[in-house]
Symmetry: C2
Subunit: 126 residues, 2 copies
């Protein structure tokens, strides 16, 4: 992502860490919440490209609006996702390029682990 990408024509921006500012501990913390991990899994599945395409409401989390906003903010401030305004809607996308460049294989191994766990707990796998 670029700084410009987080800007609307109206100039409303959301703070994102630069790639060099992203910290492993913050990424792991962001992914350690079941709801945030579910959001990231869905984003990884839904997304063909890096560009933010999914609104927060797409995810339909079973929590209040403010809790949902909190979770997306934690994901954004840790560097896991990018959020851009389109009008009054925030669109979200994984920062896969940044994460893969900093921590090769990490995001995929977390996503794979999450899939394995979901299958295991659903009884689909051993």
């Amino acid at each position: 992502m670029t700084t410009a990408a987080a800007r609307t024509p109206a100039g409303r921006t959301l703070a994102h860490p630069d790639r060099a500012e992203i910290r492993l501990e913050a990424v792991l913390h962001a992914l350690s919440d079941p709801m945030r991990l579910a959001v990231v899994r869905e984003m990884a599945t839904a997304q063909g490209a890096d560009s933010p395409g999914l609104s927060c409401s797409h995810f339909d989390l079973p929590v209040t609006k403010s809790t949902s906003t909190h979770h997306f903010r934690v994901l954004r401030e840790s560097g896991v996702i990018e959020q851009v305004y389109r009008g009054t809607t925030k669109l979200n996308g994984l920062r896969r390029d940044d994460l893969d460049a900093l921590f090769p294989g990490l995001l995929d191994s977390v996503l794979d682990a999450a899939t394995r766990q979901a299958d295991r707990l659903d009884g689909h796998a051993g």
Copy 2:
């Protein structure tokens, strides 16, 4: 690990999750703290085998004893490490077999990411 492995002759035990009880979110949370991540990195380096061999005092964390105990408990209760009593000393070891069986590649990718970050922040790498 086996349940017996966590027992001393005197019968003093520490609670560990069984392999099937280990949850990805708890593992990521345990690893998301800089001090706990440092402990796990050192354990991974120091350890040739799975058996717990390092005492808590080995790690010489710059925190109070109770904070150190807390960090080791979070690591144990999440399933990341095994702790066994030898007399009044707790010996610690990574539960690599359990983690690798549940989440193949995850621990290694986190350890690799931590090494890359440490190198980057120390200016050893680009």
